[in-house]
Amino acid sequence: MAKHIKPGMRLALPVDYAGVSMAMTQPIIEHGAGDLDLVCVPTGGLQVDQLVGAGLVRTVETSAVSLGEAGGAPRFNAAAKDGAVRLKDATCPAIHAGLMAAQKGSPFMPLRGLIGTDLLRHRDDWRVVDNPLADGGDPIVLIPAIKPDVTIFHVPMADRFGNVWIGRRRELAAMAYASRITLVTVERIVEQNLLADEMSAAGVLPALYVTAVGRAPKGAWPYGLWGEYPADSAEIARYAKAARTADGFSAYMARAQMEPA
């Protein structure tokens, strides 16, 4: 599936608790397509840090990058300090608004807040206009549509028709609607059509939006997956420690223990 990724593409990746396809990280790195523009929906963690550490990333658009309780994201922070990646710092609802605009085929979405922040000052792609429906004044920020080339995430199941069950993680649907290509890894592939049952259908991203599905048991590891398994915080802490240096990061990534225990 990593072959869908070409140099210079824009990749949308989900927040750590929504279903991160960690199983795809190593194949993406081995595939080696670089100059990637990452969009974190709305924040990033381990996967973003590893792609940055592997030198594949040109820009990171995000509301935050961290390893949660394990602390700061070491390779991301080092790259930010060295100027090795270009930062497009955002705020969570601005990322959602950009995807929402793309979902509707609109050029932008207006969003409250942001005025007077240094986020806005550093974003030449965001615009401030006066609310055209007010009697004058009332400035508001326009967030341009975010249209990723590729969205990648991991969920519990898909059916053999390519329908993907995302439950209440609706941001995964927003990402897929906005993207040209959507790659999904799953814990298991089920026989029954997930759209046939109203209870499961409500939480389904239809195959219409899905480019490819791959089976990857424990595919979010060391992150957890909702309804399935908890995060392996010891492993995330191990990574956080190893990746403090570039050499430590390389050694960690080279080890076969990237496979789930």
Binding site: C92, H96, L114, G137, R170
Partner: protein
């Protein structure tokens, strides 16, 4: 009067600051604000009233949302979230918050995770409580290096929310948006005005002899040490266990 732990003072102060809210949102790794919200709920329910709804981000049990991670922000934009907490690597005397980094952006000498939802929530949540236990001049600076979210906005900018208070490990400040600036409201036990001035990089208003922060009564402490720590342990097991260990040494 039983001995009260410093963090119990913080939790009880947060419960007082939240009095009257219908819905409070708490960040994923914020056990003290969560405990304050849970204490308020327990106190309300003990008196036969309805307690606040508490949303803890990233928690499965304390989460009413079914529309992905966008729903919290939509909910706030609709005016359905009354209170929220913000920390910050730096906070200045105008209530500006920096969650991005110290030094010259974008090549910050110290990079923090990022602004998260602050650049929106600070504008639309009516009661934002700034909470940072560490009270030092490196946190409370004269001017932040990067504004993730501004304390006040010019006239004409839509703003239904903003900071109302700043709670630290040493004291409680009230935010006056008309001045704008902070005013020291009370000092926690074991601290004093001179120490707070020394540890604060911005100027603030204060009485010549500031009051001590109100301490919880026996009933409140019993509720906190019983029901609230039990509830807290479901989401923050390590924090609840640590509080109970510290209480063990107090009782002994």
């Amino acid at each position: 009067m039983a001995e009260v732990l410093p963090r119990e003072v913080l939790i009880c102060t947060i419960a007082r600051l939240l009095d009257g809210v219908r819905h409070v949102a708490v960040g994923a790794s914020s056990p003290i604000p969560a405990a304050g919200a849970m204490l308020l709920r327990a106190m309300k329910e003990a008196s036969g009233a309805v307690g606040p709804r508490i949303s803890i981000l990233g928690s499965v049990e304390h989460n009413f949302f079914t529309n992905g991670s966008a729903e919290l922000f939509d909910c706030a934009g609709q005016g359905r979230i009354d209170a929220f907490f913000l920390g910050g690597g730096q906070i200045d005397g105008l209530g500006n918050v920096n969650l991005v980094g110290a030094g010259d952006y974008p090549r910050s000498s110290v990079r923090w995770p990022g602004s998260f939802g602050s650049a929106y929530l600070y504008f639309v949540v009516p009661r934002v409580i700034l909470f940072r236990e560490e009270h030092t001049p490196r946190v409370f600076v004269e001017k932040v290096d990067f504004i993730s979210a501004p304390g006040v906005s010019p006239d004409g900018v839509f703003r239904s929310g903003g900071p109302i208070a700043l709670l630290t490990g040493k004291g409680l400040f009230h935010f006056d948006k008309t001045r704008p600036g902070f005013e020291l409201e009370s000092v926690h036990p074991g601290h004093d005005l001179a120490e707070i001035k020394e540890a604060t990089g911005f100027r603030f208003e204060h009485d010549a002899e500031p009051r001590q922060t109100v301490l919880p009564d026996r009933a409140t402490l019993d509720l906190l040490r019983g029901r609230v720590f039990d509830e807290l342990a479901e989401t923050y097991p390590e924090f609840a266990a640590q509080m109970r260990r510290e209480l063990g040494t107090v009782d002994a």
